[in-house]
Amino acid sequence: MFEVLELNAGYEFRNRFVHAVRNVSFKVEQDDFFGIAGESGCGKTTLMLASLGLLKKPGKVISGRVLVEGLNLLALSNDELKKVRWKKVSLVTQSSMNSLNPVMKVKDQMADVLIRNHGFSKSDAYELVKEKLKLVGITPDRMESYPHQLSGGMRQRVVIAMALLLSPRVIFMDEPTTALDVVVQRSILQQIEELKKKEHFSIVFITHDISLLFELATKIAIMYAGEFVEVGEATLVYSRPLHPYTKGLIEALPSISKDLEKYKSIPGRPPDLTLKIEGCPFRERCSFAFERCRVEKPELRFVNGRWVACHLY
């Protein structure tokens, strides 16, 4: 349904190139909840922007294809993209406070895209906006509000309703709940899950909060230094992680229900993405690293029911 093939993207400056997404491929099927987790600076947001054709200068897609129902998004012109966006794929951004226009009424900014790019009349557009707002639990009288009159949770719901407007098949969510309190976060996530069941869309969920991701996602990809290092069923990856980085992340995670006496952080920091990485990108922080990791770059291989890029297996 939604497929990214060997995508390479990054940011181009006068004298250097930050290679933020390195040869990433993944596939999202019907009803998937696909989670992408990684530390800040690992390229997860770049991956999302690049696969939606939203990467702006100095960002640049070098190679790769993004297929939505057979259509290559990256080969489309701007006008063609406008027709596809919101209809086939849509996006829920990180902080709703910044993604809503503060001087536009909720109904107007939601209807804008419908009227401008999808040929709706004003009254039809408002009607649809009303219906979608109801879906996320916002009463129609809130349509007349400005963003500052809504609470943080409600604003985030408006952004979700906006993403649902044209019933897309795939919705990207980039840290949709990080700016919110735990209780509000939980109620929004529950709503997303209910909507997903009702409306049958797939979700690509990007976050650094892995404990949340392991709980919600059906499939999970762990991203490190621009690459996927482990991809598989979330429950399997959580219960039996194979890649040392995944293991490290799970051991570094204070858990609320387990009574572990010691959590360890992963020493060191991710490599500089402007440089060409020889061998395994994780080797300097890895306690299992051996000679081969220095010279040969591990490829993703299918081991014990999931894909992992590590020489240990």
Binding site: D181, R186, L253, S255, R269
Partner: protein
């Protein structure tokens, strides 16, 4: 255990002007709290519950409206002269949420660390600076002294902030969400550092956070705040494993947990009450599924099984 910091009936009100009206926002509505020697106490709650205000009042950044604060059994007067103020600052230090914002980007680490030593007239600067950098596990110290904050990673920056805090040998550190801006892989490193500083330097921490899992890991006791009041207080693991107050239960349910079968659904509607005109009785009453008629009346803290709960159910 002797108490290093004790707070009784602490209140803090802010006045806000709205047009011609002047409103009072009651951020803290009578907080009693005790921090013992060699102890980490975490204050958890949602944003707006008053946890940061509490910390700032204790750090003497805000003046309390009412209430008593005592340090090592001695009551702190409202006004301190310069010498007393310095002595207070030496014993009580603060660590902030955002290490990107709390270090001056134009100064080197050595300058950041030297400032408190100059202000408090502590001698043997170079040796002390090296020692604290080693204490916060930034080794070798020589390589970090001449660095600028932008040359350090987030975790290293937060360690510099901790180094600056412990350089005056304080007894109390007030930590305002020290890990919330950090990545998962380094978060636990900072938590472990706090545990180490507690063990090896005998520093007590008042740690404000919204991360219940982190609070459970490092603290001896947890204090749950809601709408300017403490609603539950007790031993950390007990609070998380067996929450008693309905609000603590809600927090526990809402926290992300990979072990949880996702079938449990949370029934919650509503938001914390307005602090301008807070409800007379239990602040959680409008959201609580166990609410009864008597919840409309003010509810006192009561002791149940070795912990304190502000709820009529017990």
């Amino acid at each position: 255990m002797s108490s290093v910091l004790k707070v009784i009936g602490l209140k803090k009100e802010f006045t806000i002007r709205k047009g011609f009206k002047t409103l009072t926002l009651k951020a803290l509505r009578g907080v009693d709290l005790e921090l013992n020697e060699n102890e980490i106490v975490s204050v958890v709650g949602e944003s707006g519950c008053g946890k940061t205000t509490l910390l700032r009042v204790l750090a003497r950044l805000y003046e309390p409206t009412a209430g008593k604060i005592s340090l090592f059994g001695e009551e702190l007067p409202r006004r301190l002269n310069r010498k007393e103020e310095l002595k207070f600052r030496k014993l009580v230090q603060m660590v902030f949420q955002d290490p990107f914002a709390s270090l001056n980007p134009t100064k080197r680490v050595s300058y950041v660390l030297k400032r408190p030593l100059k202000i408090h007239r502590i001698e043997n600067e170079d040796q002390i600076m090296k020692n604290v950098l080693e204490d916060v596990e930034l080794t070798p110290p020589e390589s970090f002294l001449e660095k600028f904050p932008h040359e350090l990673s987030g975790g290293q920056r937060q360690r510099v902030v901790f180094a600056r805090a412990i350089i005056t040998k304080p007894k109390i550190i007030l930590a305002d969400e020290p890990t919330s801006m950090l990545d998962v892989s380094i978060k636990s490193g900072i938590l472990n550092l706090m545990l180490k500083l507690k063990e090896e330097h005998g520093i007590s921490f008042l740690h404000v956070t919204h991360d219940l899992a982190a609070a459970k890991y490092i603290s001896n006791r947890i204090v749950v705040m809601y709408a300017g009041l403490i609603v539950e207080e007790g031993e950390a693991k007990e609070i998380v494993n067996r929450p008693m107050h309905p609000y603590t239960m809600l927090l526990r349910e809402a926290a992300p947990d990979p072990e949880k079968s996702s079938s449990t659904t949370l029934v919650d509607v509503g938001e914390p009450p307005s602090l301008i005109d807070p409800p007379l009785g239990c602040p959680f009453e409008p959201r609580c599924k166990y609410a009864k008629a008597e919840c409309k009346e003010p509810v006192q803290m009561r002791e149940v099984d070795g912990r304190k709960v502000r709820c009529v159910l017990y």
